[in-house]
Symmetry: C2
């Protein structure tokens, strides 16, 4: 039973805002003069401030990772399966911090925020961000919360990339790095899908060069298309087959029914697309996919991931899912191989799961067990 | 050296038009009163009219499968690698017929043709087509050309589906059925990609409900997006990686270059998209993808492909490619398994190839050898 009253739920949580006045120097060379980060916390920070866990979100995530915003809230946070009392990231032991990344559209400063220099929304002029910018802003949040060193930084997909960047940029401030369904850089195919998604948004006339907010409109069609493309890559072929097969949503395939017959998978995708376009900002989507595209763990280490990981000091857990074709197990094994070659302690689990990339959000028993066991180890040294 | 003068080229070819005045009854229940089919032929029909080969095209194909349209023509037909003197489909032995399918946009009657009832382009009102409609119209073309029985019907992808439909609908009129990189029906993932492609077109304001032709415009952006999505599924992850990797088309990934740096795969896709949108009709694209979606070999055989193939009388060659993830080898093995269970003679080759679905158009040595050997067998009984 999912409800705030469930003993395994963190219950009702309230997002908080941290305001920063010290300019943040960004990878693009610009400074962001001031910014807000919206975050939530679950559990209690211990006296030594040694039990803090940072959860980094993926492409379209936000700060609300666990619990409920009100008693009437029907849907818990996006990673509620794994965060809570008695859950793998056990809030009886850990103080969990989850934020909306800079550039996001769920409370933190981003393209839909007002640019203090113009008094208008930043829109497409919001500075481009890299994973390292997020990591730097998260380090500021850690300072703000009095956390010198994270017991662990955890993330799936783009979140896993941030966790790895943490290990490289702040080796003294992270004891464990948990990288789930991620990769050291995008493949050409990954880049291609992101390009289609962005082109869908950019070519929507309502996008208006990114200044749709001033016109009180949104590029709903483009954003919906972008989400549809993304969604296909989150699910495995098998998962789609078992979820929908060729079942019809309406009509029949007999002659004469053209136009009325509709496959379930098609109406499902359209629904997902339209839901997303009503709740996500197009400029943020472009910014986030670009950050993904440009992420390249070892670029400034002469393209040598062993040299890159040679700078880290933490232990690693790497997890992949058998049918994930967005970031396949092979991409995780590349991370593991580089870590081993760099002499870093690393555990690796490849989880059999039919659900594709989306598996990282689901309570798959072996996955939950692996994560729980590792988190016990993390907790033992807090 | 590719040129019309090459001794392995069919040389200069001239498309021809067959006009049909007898209404064609379509699967949707409507009749198409009159229609044209544009076709090309290569080689000579023998006295017994027993050496004719029908080549069926895939989603965006046309009649021009081999040779050149003029001495200045830089690019040969789409399957020139396999059709010509001394090539697998040897025009010294065979009379090859290649047509643009009904509903197409390369000469045959389709959505961009004038609807005689209104004097305006058919546009979105062109009747929906099924693979069986193409097969029926191709049978009319066979009558017109004096061909009672094809020595072989050959096709890749959607073309392979037509070849199978031929074997079911006209068992007496086909001696060999060659099915390359195809499937008995689309998977949910296949359906999903087609849906995204269609939504990209339908949501382009220039599509104007399909009546863009009367407005002298085209839904160029939507069609380009549709092609980009399709193109990703034609190439394997490996093929994309070796073709582009993460190489840059322009700019650098250093800080400050946002917007100017561009990955090659992205500009390549954009180029492919814009080329396609200038040469293909959007309503045809929608019609063709719907025909793909609705193709289901065994639907009226109680979903039993063994029962379906039990109606066939020809021999089969089935070919798949190892990295094809649009119609994977598994989909071809399903065809082969059903044929074996139905007691039909079938040869099967799974070709190791890095190029994904597109491999079926490429001169991969083992593929060419398999096809050549099988065609010798076809020729031995002409």
């Amino acid at each position: 039973m999912n409800s705030p009253a469930d003993s395994h739920s963190v219950g009702i949580v309230t997002p908080q805002v941290a305001h920063f006045d010290t300019p943040l120097h960004l990878a693009c060379g610009h400074d962001l003069p001031t910014y807000d980060l919206v975050y939530e916390t679950y559990g209690e920070l211990n006296d030594k401030h040694s039990n803090a866990i940072l959860v980094c979100h993926a492409l379209s995530g936000h700060a609300h990772a666990a619990g409920y915003h009100s008693v009437d809230d029907k849907k818990p946070g996006w990673w509620d399966e794994c965060i809570g009392p008695g859950k793998p990231i056990d809030t009886n032991n850990f103080f969990v911090v989850s934020l909306n990344n800079l550039g996001g559209c769920h409370g933190s400063t981003g393209p839909s925020s007002v640019n203090p220099a113009t008094g208008k929304p930043w829109g497409p002029d919001f500075p481009p961000l890299r994973a390292r910018d997020w990591v730097n802003s998260q380090a500021r949040l850690a300072d703000y919360l009095g956390i010198d060193c994270w017991a662990a930084v955890i993330g799936g997909s783009l979140g896993g990339m941030q966790a790895m960047r943490w290990a490289l940029e702040y080796p003294q401030r992270i004891r464990h790095c948990i990288v789930i369904a991620a990769a050291m850089k995008l493949s050409a195919q990954n880049l291609a899908f992101n390009e289609v998604a962005r082109q869908a948004i950019l070519s929507d006339p309502e996008y208006a060069g990114g200044h749709y907010q001033e016109r009180n409109t949104i590029p709903a069609q483009g954003l919906a298309l972008a989400r549809m493309v993304g969604h296909i890559t989150y699910l495995s072929d098998n998962a789609m087959a078992s979820k929908f097969g060729r079942d019809l949503h309406s009509g029949s395939l007999e002659q004469g029914d053209e136009g009325s017959a509709e496959f379930q998978v098609q109406s499902y995708l359209r629904y997902q697309g339209s839901q997303f376009s009503g709740s996500f900002d197009a400029n943020t989507y472009i910014l986030m996919t670009r950050a993904l595209d440009y992420f390249d763990l070892a670029r400034e280490y002469n393209d040598d991931p062993v040299a890159a990981f040679g700078h880290t000091l933490c232990s690693f857990l790497v997890i992949s899912f058998s049918t994930d074709w967005r970031f396949s197990p092979q991409r995780s094994r590349e991370i593991v191989d580089a870590l081993i070659a760099a002499g870093r302690p690393v555990s690796y689990a490849e989880i059999e799961a039919d659900e594709g990339h989306d598996a990282f959000l689901l309570p798959i028993p072996r996955y939950v067990n692996v994560l729980s066991a590792y988190m016990l180890r993390v907790g033992a040294h807090c």
